[in-house]
């Protein structure tokens, strides 16, 4: 199974990267582009057939290591093997 952890800066926390990308896109003439935020995505292969269990593991990993909960939120989803 493959887990996807999407990690974004918390609402209200400054996101300098997102802001810089937004400026750059606007300068490149993408006038329709509004607010931009940048986050991380982490793809993890996990040895488990049980989504419930896998979710618990990934949640623990996110809290412990992957996300910085002071400034980031995370979201977990799963990709079935293809």
């Amino acid at each position: 199974m493959k887990a996807l952890v999407k990690i974004m800066p918390k609402n209200g926390v400054l996101d300098p990267q997102g802001k810089a990308i937004e400026n750059s896109l606007n300068q490149l003439g993408f006038s329709q582009v509004g607010n931009v935020r940048q986050g991380k995505i982490i793809e993890i292969e996990i040895n488990s057939n049980n989504e419930q269990e896998a979710k618990k593991i990934i949640e623990e990993a996110s809290n412990k290591l992957l996300a910085n909960l002071v400034i980031e939120d995370y979201e977990i989803s799963f990709l079935k093997e293809d």
Partner: protein, 729 residues
């Protein structure tokens, strides 16, 4: 309207007496915005209420000081119309909560203090302290802090040239992150923060305001407890790119004659910058918060006034120069907004959405700020118990092996290789020496800079410790051949409401005063961080001293690196072999009690002045002061750096651990070519200074009296080993 309850007042860290004073002065209840403003301005961090009665006793002047404490940073004259501008600041609590961002914004903040005065920052230093290496949080905190410091400084293109790292379990839950910045400006182009000119515009520049770090100022002054995780306010996130643009934009505008006054928005953001600028100029200030560039929608007046969003500045300019100023900030893509005006009312007046949110007479906030003479008790350790020393049988070399690979004496390369210490191309002496040397751009003179503290000495004997920290800074600058000029300090202590902690503060300051006076080494700027305490356990008293000195001619400076074989190695200053509070006592004897070594300030000055002359006049190029770890550690550092060994020749009385590892103060090691030997000895004897030849530089080993020996290669491996293995293992 928010009701002002007793709880709310308490939550703002305002005590009963203080609140009563507010009610009496205003003649009414404060609004919530006003309460926030009082809370921020009267926090320990902004008001120095526990410390200012002590701080004002520190010497702040000599014939080189242009601006002492009270401005954004201190200013000294370094000749030829040039000034060095510098300051140190703590970012302890934010770095504990979020090490990367806390440390990064600490670096960002201290740079703004320096360039707001018109100086281009030319050097950064950092003094960082962590808990026991075995403590579960230490590694994570250290790695976050170091990458945060590097992340910000590297991006700004300002070299990080020095600092110190210490581990001690007293910092387990209260790490210390102190950052220092040094800038250079022309003396006739220095900018100050005193607002003037009724009717002039109050201009906001830089990044937008968000809800970052609201209550940061009060947080920095409040003791932590176990649920501080819950109360965690929004953390400030740094944007070094925005700051780089702000730096260039400010310096560009400063080449024109447009800015009347300028101050960065640091702790307590818009509140403290507006209040301090207006108070200094004895004028009133009206702000319309509708004009403040905001990042978030629906920010309240309270939030806008207390936000600690980074990379912002407040300036006073004449209204008819606004367009000219705005053009510069437009070019650099930064916000520029006129948000208010100077008035003759002596009031701070704040409007938002057409409503009056605050109206406070400025002197209530400033001169009305509380100030406490807190009771104190100075506690000293008992005399050091020497009896156990003789039981240690290990050979000196075995002990050297242990100490050089110990957390507090091993190489900090792992740290400083993550900092760009060469950008700007003026770093003459990179990290690893006693002080860094940074060339004053375009000249042949250099600034010597170092950051030091010895908290274990301060804890054992606050007054002696206070003398020692200043003396050590002076010694480190002297070791490279610089004339020490002035210091900035960062006073990190526990809870001042406890007598013994206040006693540490009082003792350390008294010791510092003596040393500053004797060494003509005044304090020109600084910062106090109190309440470094968790669950009732305070840190060791940690006064960090940032010293700055001048090398007039860069053709003559010295470094610890041994440069040649067949030099005579001379130990300058008397060695008593005192082991109290030494690293040896801690690591080998497991003894952390006892008094620290004494500092004899008169002697210190006499010896240092001669060492400096030897460097500048007699061209001695190899000098190292003896500090943590004592003589053998200092020698080992010199050998490792130069990849040349030393053959030590000691007499019998000197063949003991006290002589080799004691931390007697006021000592230097120099290495002198034989052709210079007689003149060197003559100079030393002429001034009545004790010195002794202890050996010769030779080969690739340290050899003690033909018996004990160790190769430089082994020493280097040991020296480099601990930190890397700890962090990467």
């Amino acid at each position: 309207m928010t009701e002002i309850t007793k709880e709310l007042v308490e939550e703002h860290g305002i005590n009963n007496d203080e609140y009563k004073f507010i009610l009496d002065s205003l003649n009414r209840e404060p609004t919530i915005t006003e309460l926030g403003i009082f809370s921020a301005m009267w926090s320990e961090h902004c008001s120095y209420k526990s410390s200012k009665n002590w701080l004002k006793k520190l010497p702040t002047k000599n014939n080189k000081v242009i601006q002492g404490p009270g401005e954004n940073a201190g200013v000294i004259d370094i000749g030829d119309g040039d000034a060095a501008i510098f300051k140190m600041e703590s970012h302890n609590h934010p770095s504990f909560i979020e090490p990367y961002q806390g440390a990064a914004t600490g670096v960002g903040g201290i740079m703004r203090d320096v360039f707001t005065m018109g100086a281009r920052p030319v050097a950064l230093l950092n003094s960082i302290r962590f808990g026991d290496p075995k403590h579960s949080k230490t590694k994570h905190l250290l790695s976050g802090v170091v990458s945060g410091i590097g992340g910000y400084g590297n991006c700004m293109g300002v070299p990080t040239v020095g600092g110190e790292v210490e581990f001690n379990s007293c910092y387990n839950d209260n790490i210390l992150v102190n950052a220092m910045c040094v800038g250079v400006a022309k003396i006739d182009k220095i900018f100050y923060s005193k607002a003037s000119g009724i009717g002039n515009s109050v201009v906001y520049v830089g990044s937008k305001t968000g809800r970052d770090g609201i209550h940061g100022a009060t947080m920095a002054s409040a003791e932590f407890d176990d649920d501080s995780d819950e109360k965690r306010p929004t953390v400030q996130v740094g944007d070094p790119f925005a700051e780089k643009l702000l730096l260039e934009a400010c310096l560009e505008l400063m080449t024109k004659d447009v800015i009347i006054a300028i101050q960065d928005m640091g702790a307590a953001g818009l509140t403290s910058s507006a209040v301090e600028m207006a108070s200094k100029g004895d004028v009133g200030i009206d702000l319309n918060l509708d004009l403040v560039p905001c990042r978030e929608s629906k920010m309240s007046a309270y939030e806008i006034m207390l936000s600690e969003s980074q990379e912002r500045m407040l300036m006073i300019i004449e209204p008819d120069r606004e367009q000219e100023a705005k053009a510069v900030f437009d070019k650099w893509g930064l916000d520029f907004s006129t948000i208010g005006i100077l008035t003759d009312t002596n009031h701070l007046v704040i409007n938002h959405h057409g409503k009056l949110k605050a109206e406070i007479k400025l002197d209530i906030l400033e001169s009305g700020a509380p100030s406490y003479n807190r009771p104190y008790k100075i506690i000293r350790e008992p005399e050091f118990d020497k009896s156990k020393v003789s039981e240690v049988l290990d050979s000196s070399i075995d002990i050297l092996r242990i100490l050089i690979n110990s957390p507090n004496l091993c190489s900090r390369r792992w740290v400083w290789e993550q900092y760009d210490h060469m950008v700007m191309n003026d770093t003459v002496l990179t990290p690893g020496g006693d002080a860094a040397i940074v060339r004053v751009h375009g000249t042949n003179k250099g600034l010597a800079i170092s950051a030091d503290s010895t908290p274990r000495y301060c804890s054992a004997d606050p007054q002696e410790g206070g003398r020692q920290v200043v003396a050590e800074s002076w010694r480190n600058l002297t070791s490279v051949g610089a004339l020490p000029i002035a210091i900035t300090d960062c006073m990190n202590f526990g809870n001042p409401e406890k007598e013994e902690i206040m006693g540490q503060f009082a003792g350390v300051v008294s010791g510092m005063i003596e040393a500053c006076n004797t060494l003509d080494f005044p304090v020109v700027s600084g910062n106090v961080s109190l309440y470094n305490e968790t669950n009732g356990k305070g840190i060791n008293p940690t006064p960090v001293i940032g010293g700055v000195g001048l090398i007039k001619d860069l053709n003559h400076f010295s470094t610890p690196l041994i440069k040649r074989e067949n030099d005579v190695v001379i130990l300058i200053g008397k060695t008593d072999g005192y082991l109290g509070q030494s690293i040896y006592a801690k690591e080998i004897l497991n003894n952390t009690s006892g008094l620290p070594p004494r500092v004899n300030l008169e002697n210190e000055k006499k010896i240092g002045d001669v060492v400096r002359d030897l460097i500048n006049i007699q061209k001695i190029d190899t000098v190292h002061d003896i500090s943590d770890g004592g003589l053998l550690i200092a020698l080992a550092e010199m050998c490792i750096a130069g990849n040349i060994g030393v053959k030590l020749d000691l007499n019998k009385e000197e063949m003991n651990h006290g002589f080799l590892f004691g931390e007697d103060q006021g000592r230097y090691i120099i290495s002198v070519p034989k052709s210079f030997l007689s003149s060197t000895i003559k100079t030393l004897e002429g001034k009545g200074i004790y010195s002794q030849n202890i050996g010769e530089t030779r080969g690739k080993k340290i050899i003690i009296n033909e018996q004990d020996q160790i190769s430089i290669e082994t020493l280097r491996d040991l020296h480099e080993k601990w930190f890397k293995e700890y962090m990467e293992g």
